[in-house]
Each structure stands twice: as structure tokens, then as C-alpha cells.
Subunit: 462 residues, 2 copies
Amino acid sequence: MKDLHQYIEDNKDRMLSELFDLLRIPSISALSAHKEDMYKTANAIKVKLETIGVDHCEVMETGGHPAVFAKKTIDTTLPTVLVYGHYDVQPVDPLELWESDPFEPFIKATKNHPEGAIIGRGANDDKGQMYMHILAFEYLVKSGNLPCNVKFLIEGEEEIGSANLDNFIEKNKDILSCDVVLVSDTTMAGKETPSVMTGLRGLSYFEIKLSGPNRDLHSGHFGGAVINPCMAMCEMLSSLHDVNGKINIPHFYDGVIEVSPQERAEMAKVPFDPIRYNENVGVDYVNGEKGYSTRERCTIRPALDINGIWGGYIGEGAKTILPACAHAKVSIRLVPGQDPHRVNEMFINHIKQIAPKGTKVEISATQGAFPYVTPITDSAYVAASKALEMVYGKPAVPVRGGGSIGVVPMFEKFLGKKTILLGFGLDTDAIHSPNENYSLGQFFRGVEVIPYFYKFYAELKK
Amino acid sequence: MKDLHQYIEDNKDRMLSELFDLLRIPSISALSAHKEDMYKTANAIKVKLETIGVDHCEVMETGGHPAVFAKKTIDTTLPTVLVYGHYDVQPVDPLELWESDPFEPFIKATKNHPEGAIIGRGANDDKGQMYMHILAFEYLVKSGNLPCNVKFLIEGEEEIGSANLDNFIEKNKDILSCDVVLVSDTTMAGKETPSVMTGLRGLSYFEIKLSGPNRDLHSGHFGGAVINPCMAMCEMLSSLHDVNGKINIPHFYDGVIEVSPQERAEMAKVPFDPIRYNENVGVDYVNGEKGYSTRERCTIRPALDINGIWGGYIGEGAKTILPACAHAKVSIRLVPGQDPHRVNEMFINHIKQIAPKGTKVEISATQGAFPYVTPITDSAYVAASKALEMVYGKPAVPVRGGGSIGVVPMFEKFLGKKTILLGFGLDTDAIHSPNENYSLGQFFRGVEVIPYFYKFYAELKK
């Protein structure tokens, strides 16, 4: 693939122009007004894939926004890579904070990216990262270098939770069958620190209502004598961490797979600047579970957060009431070895048990995602790592992500296959925010890394 | 005053109709949108007082919502009673829990009040109770039975702490001069247990904002590593009580005047039915400071309550954020021996001290009221007790109230006079709550008791 780098150099303008056409379609999955834009985007991707030589491509119904499926089979004895991506984007508000129209992409040289960055909604997440795969595939077919079979699944509901994909994958597991799933929808440790994301946290999400008296009571007449549900909620929620920042629910950590000291040492090699980290989030001090670093606390360790809390009078001025009830939304990020269904049950039972006498608790689990991990011994991990080294000139490091991508554990569940999270985003890219951007350097290096992944993966699977 | 009872019987419908007109004006002092309604209500009261024969009446500026002042002097050698009441009402949310429009009052027969009760915001607190005084005065003037001089001070900021009344009373202490202050803005021990309230708790009220990161963060990417302000708020607030239900702030109880065992024994004689109490508030269990009875906990002991709490995502569904900040409204009821200014300072310092590193706290005291107590040997107390016995047919008992009426300690401070708390509310009246109501029996008995108070008080002061 000696001609790969030159091919990209020769086609840069055309490649960007094609991506820009895609970015101009406002495919916001959360807003029903954009329903037609979803089909428009899916069809544009289909046309492109057909032009560059897939055997078969169709826009498939999912029950929600459609998904694009395509495949090219060159030899059934060779391994098959399933590329997953999404063409839907986040809403754009607050619109006034954008430098220009979010759907009129342009290139701008910035402090972080003197070579230029693409500014626009979806520049990175995930149209930009997804399109690298289409361009890499184009090169491989055109140059005759395609070393394996490829399938594409480009969906339109990732930003709204991929709620229909569970059924879709289960129903279509035969056509989606593959040896590995390849996804570029995450970040890299740094522009000069190539990395592969080897894990994601899972998620349990709860809504709790704690009721006390049958109405808001006068706090003068009843205060001190009747249990205050807001105070009881605070007592319950604050009891969920112990003094060491550990989650204080019996048996919560049962089954958690501790990361080995060797792996922790490996992860600690990724540069981390605590001052820059604090500046970015706007705090002067961070804290969490004792015995773990900041990055470990938000990747390899579970975390329990209050996402929202409310009760009593929250309007202007003073109202002297003892509120009738209190509400909270609580999420728990899970790590390998934890099952959201088991955690849901454990948490619900625990909350019911600690709710004080004189109150009534209603609690439900509203979301669940399994944690996910790929061993660094997996041949696809090795291939990804080698491919990054080819282009970046240094070995890739394995990193864990703290978020959850619901579809990744689904591939494992229904297809029985691992996913390689080969993301080229950077944490300064403002995804989901105004002025989303994507470094041109990362974009073109991504287009260059992907063909090497196929090459090394096919070789390793021989 | 043989004709008093008949006068009330003959005028019931008209009396209620006048009160209903007043209840229809949404005079919510906490909400700035209702500013005009405050003037509208004050003017309606002025018109009524002028119609029934006061010498002078005016709507006076206070710096906040206006107050109505009126007087009738029949003989300067006779004692003067200053009637205090308020025309402002509490906000109405949660609106969905009201049976009907809070400002469209109606009569409904209930289990507690088979004779009927007025349902509506202000039915009891304090438009209903205040209007009893206007109707009693109407009778006394019309029948020629007025035995003393009367002044009225009907203010519009009681529900938001009477913050401007302090200055107002001090500035107008000459025109407000009197022998005793008479207030109906409290409850009676029971429908068949006439009582006079001899004490009130004081009040400190705080608004707290606890800030963490500079924006709502992705709870996957940051959860576990960055301090969650909602969780920190829960931890701070839950630390404010110890395991015995005592308020856990250093020196908080310094100076608190303990009620003697004899007084506690006397108070314990007032009937108290724990099953009925729990049924009324809709709980199966109550709890509070160890070593005190339910009634003592909400009258002679301080109490700290969360009146409202909010932070993060409180809409429909799940949003996985680590919120940027949390808010709470906290009240502390105070007892004799405590000074709200000292408690404000102590609480603010304590909260600042316990706010965890990595968060920023903003806290302000928004209200303050001194606690209050009247001796049962006071001639106005004796007159009130006799007046109640005339109508209820049994001796009145002295009780302590748990609420705060900020203005009562101000009358003592600036006018040097005691206040008689001759309340006719019942603890089932849902004041400050949806479906506030006021028994027709209590309303009309109140109109009947008040003229006897004037009579006995004038006789005792001869």
C-alpha cells in the first residue's frame, strides 16, 4: 500500500468536498422536523457506497430512523469486518454560540489545529469519523488492496440512544455476521498519542420518588415532628458513598474485574495534565475513590452520580414548607464484571431498605447498558495498534473510556463479536457543543490508518 | 351583646360573599407578577373598613407591598386594641393538586367539617381569619357595643417574612400605639378545645447554591472524578442532624430556654391523638428529636427543614449529566433564647466550612423572625380565654405554636406591647398547601368570640 499516502494527498479536496455535502444535511435525530433529512442522508451514503463498489447496499427500516447496510464479499474464506457508524447528529442549540451556520461547514486554522479543522455539526461525531471508513474503503477497492470482506452498518439514532438497534441487530444477525466490528466514534488520547479504546463503562439509571406527608406541610406547624422527605432523600443519597469514596451498597463490587497493576501502569503512561484537566472543567480540586487516579476514577472504576434532584418549593423567594415528596435521578456507571440487570435489582432493593420508616419510596430503573472490554491480546486490537503505529510513528496505548455506547455490547450479545474502538476525535473537538470541529490532520490520518488495519487484521487471521 | 349570635346568623351569606370577593384576588406576595393584586386587595379592605365606620383609613407604603392602616377612637381614656392581620397569601403550586382554581373559592362539606368549609388560597391564612375581625368590628359599631378604641394594621408581606414591617412599625410607632395587639393567624388546639397560643417559634431562612464544574458535564466522561455538587449538597444537608435528631451545628443550642418539667406537664394535658395526627398528615410513623413528644418537637424545640432542593436535569426521561450546581432552601425554627441574627451568622459560617473543597458555596439568609412568648397572667390573655369560654362553653387552654409570625416580636420591640394570638385555624386546614380550607363553624365562631374579647378586655382594664 505504498500508494496510500499519495492517494490521500491527491484526493484531499474531493474527499472534503464529499464530506461537506454530507455535513450540509441537518440530520438531527432528536427533532422530528428533520425526519426527511435522515432519509436524505442515508440515501446519499448509499449512493456513495454503490459508486465505490459494494456488492449490495440498502437503506433499511429500523422502526425509527433508517440504517444503511452495505457489503462487499471478496472471498468467503477471508475474515469479515463490520464497520459501524452513525449519520445522525446532535441538536445545535445554543445556536447563538456558533461562529457560523452549523450546517455550512468550513475550514479554519486554530491554535490546536494550525493545519486547519473542519467546523460544523457532525464534522467529528460521527459523519467525519464515519466518512474516513468510506474513503479508506474507496482506496482499497480502487487500488485492488482490499484484503478482507467488509460490511457497513451506518445508523441514524445513535444520538438518541439507538433504541431500535437492539431488535434490528437481533433480527438481522445473519446479514450482519462478521469477525470483528470496527467503530470510529470515540477519542484518541492526544494528537501525538495514538490510542485504542479498549473498554467502555456500562450504565444503570434510576428515578426515585420519596413521599412523606400527603401534602406540603407548614414547616412551622409540623417541622421537627414529621419526617422531611427532602432531608430523608439527602440522607439516603449521601449514604451511598463511604468515607473513601467507594459506593456503599452491600455486594456492589462483587464480581468487579479489578484492572491488574500492569495494565494500570500501562494506562498511566498516557499523558495527563491535572492543571489543564481542572481548568477545562472549571474546578480547583477534584476528588473521588481513594486509591485511584483521576483518569482511573472515570474509566476503570464504577461511579454513582446524582443527575438531577428536586423537591419542595423551587421558585423565587421563600416558602416555608415541609415538602410532600422528593425526587432524584441517579446513574451508576458500571465496569467489566458488572451486569446492569443485577445492579438495577441490587440498587432498587437497597434504596427500598434504607428509606426511613414514615416515608414511601417508588423507584424504577430507566436505562441499562453493559460495560464492555476488549482484551489487548485480541488480534483486532493488535492490528489496530500496528496500523496506528504505521501512520503515527509510535506505538498505540490502550485507554479505557468512561462513557457508554449501548450498541457495542449489543454486537457482543447478538453477533458474539468484539468491537475495536478506533477513534480519532480529540477532547477539544466540542462534540455535542457549539463549533464542533475535527482536525484535518486527524481526519486524513484516520483515512490512512484504516486500510492498514484491514491489512494487518487479515494477515493475523490467516 | 345578646343580639350578636343572631346578627351573625342573619348575615352569614353576605359575610361569606364579601370574603369570597377578597379571596378571588391572587395576592401572592412572593411573586413579583402579582404586585398589582397586592394594591387591589389593600384597596378592597380599605373600602370595606371605611364603609363600616372607621374614623380614618389609608393604604400605606412600606417599601414593599403596601399595608392598610385604619383606626376608630371612641374615647381616649379607654384602652386601644391594635388588630394585626395580613392579606397576602402563599404561592399555589403544585397547582395540579388543587381540586379547583385556588382563587375561585367554594364551600364544601368534608369529613372534618360536615357544616362546610371554605376551600381556596387564603381561606384561612390569613384573609379568612383577618376578615373575622372586620366583621366583628362591623357588628360592634353597628350595634353600638364597641367598648374600646380599635386600630387595624393589615399588611401584605407576612408570607415573605414581613421584611419591611420592622422599619414601618418603628417609623409609625406613634400612630400604631395601643395597649395590646390582637392577631388571628394561628390555630386552635381542636374544634372542641378552645385555646390561646402563648408562644411562637422564630425563623431563620436560607438559600444555598453549591457550584461545581463550569457546565453540566457528561457523567460518563467525568463521573467518579469530578465532585458532584448535588451529591455534595446532600452530604452537607444530611450532616445537619445527628443520630438523635438534634441539629448538628456547634453551639446551636447555646442560650435555648428549656421549658420546665411543670410547663411540659401542663402542655401535655391538651388532648393529642397520635393516630389522628398521623392520619391527618398521611404518614404511618413520625420521628424527631429524641426525648421530646411530637407536639413538643414542633413547638418548644428548634427544627431544621429543607423547604426546597433542586439541581441538574429534572425533566422527563434520562439525561446523563454531572450537574454544574445544586440549590436548596433551608429553614430553621427557633425557640425562646435564640436570636435569628446570631443563628443566621452561625449557619452561614457552618455551611461555608462544611462545603467540600472543589465546590463553591453561595449562601444568604433571606428571612428572620424572633421567637415569642406571652405570660398567661396578662389581662389580654384572661380576656381572650373568657371570650372563648363564652362561645365554646369550656375554658381555653394555653398552647405553644410552632410557626413564626415575624411581626409579633416587632410589636413587643417597638410598641412595648404583648400580642394575643387568638387563632381559629385547625391543623387540618392545609394552609400553605393545596386545597387550603377553613371551617365555616370556626369562621363564624371567631366572628362571635372577638366582640367578647373587646368587652372583657375593656372591663379588665377599667
